[in-house]
Amino acid sequence: MSDPLMTAPLVLCIALPLLGALLVTALPRWSVSLGIVSALATAGAAVALTAAVWQQGTLHLILGGWDATLAIALHADGLAAALILMVNLVGLGISVYATDYFHDRLRVGAFWPLWLLLWAALNGLFLAGDLFNLYVMLELLGIAAAALGALTGNRDAVAANLRYLLVGLLGSISYLLGVALLYTAHGTLDLGLVAQRIAAAPELFAVDAAAMTLMVAGLALKAALFPLHFWLPPAHANAPAPVSAALSALVVKAAFYLILRLWLDLFWPITGMAAAMLLASLGAVAIVWGSWRALRAERLKLLAAYSTVAQIGYLFLFLPLLTATPPGPARDDLLAALLLMALTHGFAKAGFFLAAGLVQTHAGHDRIDDLGGTAQRLPATTFAIAMAGSALIGLPPSGSFIGKWLLMQSAIATGQWWWVVVVTTGSLLASAYVFRVLSRAFGLEPTPVRFVTDARAEVPALTLALVSVAVLGLASGPLWRLLELGSAGGGA
């Protein structure tokens, strides 16, 4: 447990990007090279972390060597490890893409430190084992994300990201009040210990319920659960492409991850079907509404942003199914499917935004109706959009296909067949909006000479999309093993 070598990746995942951010801040002239080195080092640490979890199971590190209650713990189970791996690989892709995306020196200087701080916050959030530490991470994440989102400096971007910042603060404060209530009732901040005490003190369920409400409500705001998604489309659509990718693929996912953690690990004894149904219903509406708005979107990045709203909705559908499924292989499948959906969306949405950014750069705009020529001139980019799009729809062999398959299977098995209707509708709408874009790529433009036009920008997009559409779909078996190793099912 305390063997520093074994737990080193836990620390390094957070410390390396943080150090990178500091160096990049201090040496703005070297930001690109320092930034990419930090990105590689961080991704390496994440791979090492996942490997460590794969080999040894859950990693747990109490910082400072104090008692568990007093100090802050870092904690990596299978769920966290899988998400960390996704976040870092996507982060690496975004970093490589960003080396070629920003050309103006000031923006390069502004982007890298904030991006590395955001990255550190993401890793810290997935690894945190302490309720208050989570609050700090949430704030770091929110501030870095809003600052990055406003990087273009134009009015819409600033307005949207100011709104995003305020929403984030509101959510964090709500979360913090929940933490305060929990501390009042249970006297500790360590996730594992609080969970034990919640289970041991059923008489305090009202306090727990209030805390849960405050925390989940705050996080739902950050996770953009319908109808609290109002801030997301403008914020994500107006950010620079690599930032949009990070926001949509990773940051929103982090908030959902926390909800899931709280739901499964912390509040499992007091959650019930009714609450799960409430969130899932909102998720269902999110799927339909988000997809519909994506279909009607006039701009490519707005489309992608709305698609995120819909995709987050899918994740919420799992809550009542998890509630209704007793521990066993079926529940394992369900958790794995949830994770798979989240991971696939992470890779796919990042790939989509990166590709969309490239299209926007080449076309000078991203109005879908006028994109035809550009899309056709950039086959690799269009291909990335196509692959990422298929993953968003949930077409095989993408990971979300397996995820939806298991989701529907569980919905039918638990008698909650209506989710099948929702998923089907969502998939149809998703096909419509994805192919609305892709159909522009088949015009009468002259044939592109080469498949790849701009390798540093296109290869990351292509790779991320490819991972979402092929690797996750065809080799998702390891996820089960990861989940099994670090059993995430608090209810089990």
Partner: protein, 254 residues
């Protein structure tokens, strides 16, 4: 009886909100009461006091901040850094105020050194009594604000390059100490009791400087003016763009 339907809707909504929030508040209060009623909930206080001797400081709050939960503090410094970087990313600082008059200048020349000294004291006293890096940093930052108000466009801060180093100093020292301890086998941010006091002091000093610089720079409200921060032509073009446009101006010839 407002003629404006928007205003009427707004008023209705704020009433509705008031009712909802009031109910929520009442419910929370009741629940909070119940939580208190539940009696002697376990607390961390006893443990925190019990472990105090090994922390290298005597003030329990400082012990929590810089030892038990040092990681939180590290990240909190990162938050401050992120906010400042965000502010810098929004563009250059607004032009300075007009030069101060003689009275203000005189007062500044008195008060700023005082603030610096007080800051130093607070930093030192934090080891065993209320005080510490944040308080000290805040005072120093306030000194910067005053200098800025007195008309110095840089709020008394050095040139950008140095400013950047000072800014990251806190987190850098913190992280390097943490990592160094890890390398030497103690674990991340796990101070050996003998060295704890000095390490914490080093961290606190660095943090104080960083906080002070960050607060002052934040007050300046933009990239520090200086030869390095001259906006380029491309930058100027890029700023006032119409909505929904490219984040990067289309490069000619592409």
């Amino acid at each position: 009886m407002s003629a404006d339907p928007g205003a009427a809707r707004r008023r209705d909504l704020s009433l509705l909100l008031a009712v909802l929030l009031a109910l929520l508040g009442v419910a929370l209060t009741i629940i909070y009461f119940m939580a208190l009623q539940a009696g002697a909930a376990p607390r961390l206080a006893d443990l925190a006091y019990a472990r105090l001797p090994g922390t290298g400081v005597q003030n329990p709050v400082t012990a929590v901040l810089l030892n038990y939960r040092a990681y939180d503090t590290l990240m909190e410094l990162a938050v401050l850094l992120a906010a400042l970087l965000g502010i810098w990313s929004l563009g250059p600082a607004a032009p300075g105020f007009q030069r101060s008059g003689a009275v203000l200048a005189g007062m500044v020349s008195w008060i700023v050194p005082l603030l610096i000294v007080t800051g130093g004291y607070l930093l030192w006293v934090g080891g065993y009594a209320p005080g510490g890096a944040f308080q000290a940093g805040a005072l120093l930052g306030a000194a910067g604000v005053i200098v800025r108000l007195a008309g110095d466009p840089r709020a008394g801060l050095p040139a950008e390059a140095a400013q950047r180093w000072l800014l990251v100093l806190g987190v850098l020292v913190f992280t390097l100490v943490g990592l160094g301890l890890m390398v030497f086998g103690a674990g991340f941010l796990t101070y050996p009791p003998k060295l704890a006091k000095w390490l914490i002091l080093a961290i606190e000093m660095a943090a104080t400087v960083a906080i002070a610089v960050a607060l002052a720079a934040a007050y300046v409200g933009g990239r520090p003016p200086g030869p390095e921060a001259r906006p380029t032509a491309a930058d100027e073009d890029a700023e006032p763009q119409p909505p929904a446009s490219s984040p990067r101006p289309p490069v000619p010839g592409r």
